[in-house]
């Protein structure tokens, strides 16, 4: 597709429940990124993939967060045992690999943990 597609747009989970978000990158893009936007608009990098391989996971809270990008499937970000502080908008983005790439963002998935 011509845009990064994220589902669901909104998700409400009770504390302790699992949340799973999906992302279809732009066709032909090799890199996928996940960002978390919290209060005060701060963007926090979580993880990036080069095709199905983890490229950079320095931002991932490894205890409860996991992510995958499998061939011929949407990428996913999963949060086990959600906490109130996980409430945020989660953005997926994708880019081609070239020097000075532009990273294109999806519309985001709004997770509310109650």
């Amino acid at each position: 597709g011509e845009e990064v597609a994220q589902t669901p747009k909104h998700l409400v989970r009770g504390e302790g429940q699992k949340a799973k978000l999906y992302c279809a990158p732009i066709k032909g893009h090799s890199y996928v990124f996940w960002y978390q936007q919290v209060l005060k608009n701060e963007f926090k990098f979580l993880i990036s993939f080069q095709n199905e391989n983890v490229f950079d996971e320095t931002g991932m809270p490894k205890e409860r967060f996991s992510a995958k990008c499998l061939p011929n499937s949407p990428c996913s970000l999963e949060i086990q045992a959600t906490k109130l502080e996980d409430s945020a908008v989660y953005f997926c983005a994708s880019s081609q690999y070239y020097s000075g790439n532009t990273i294109y963002f999806g519309e985001g998935s709004w997770l509310t943990v109650v």
Partner: protein
């Protein structure tokens, strides 16, 4: 580690007047620099980027930005503001080491007053 500063949380400009949204950065080496815009409940839209060459970069919707290496700045400008320019603007930086993640500033809310 790289960082981006947007010193103004809020900028108000009268319609038709020129606008400037400020951004300074701190990074080792020469960075790639980006501006994105976020409308309410939407994802980030790419506006423009500086890779190399001419310090004045022109982008979407009549916006431009000037790269100033000595001042480590990349201010966003537009000669004549429109009410529809009202949105949240983010400056971002990435390293020239490949498909590096973006590091964002905290955003500046631009309000154009009719």
């Amino acid at each position: 580690a790289q960082s981006v500063a947007q010193p103004e949380d809020q900028v108000n400009v009268a319609e038709g007047n020129p606008l400037t949204v400020k951004c300074t950065y701190s990074v080792s080496g020469n960075p790639y620099l980006f501006w994105y815009v976020q409308y309410p409940n939407r994802g980030l839209q790419f506006l423009l980027k500086y890779i190399t060459g001419d310090n004045l970069v022109k982008g979407s919707y009549g916006f431009e930005a000037e790269f100033n290496k000595s001042q480590t700045s990349f201010h966003l400008k537009k000669p004549s503001a429109l009410v529809s320019d009202s949105a949240l603007y983010f400056c971002a930086v990435s390293l020239r080491t490949g498909n590096e993640k973006l590091t964002f500033g905290t955003g500046t809310r631009l309000t154009i007053i009719p």
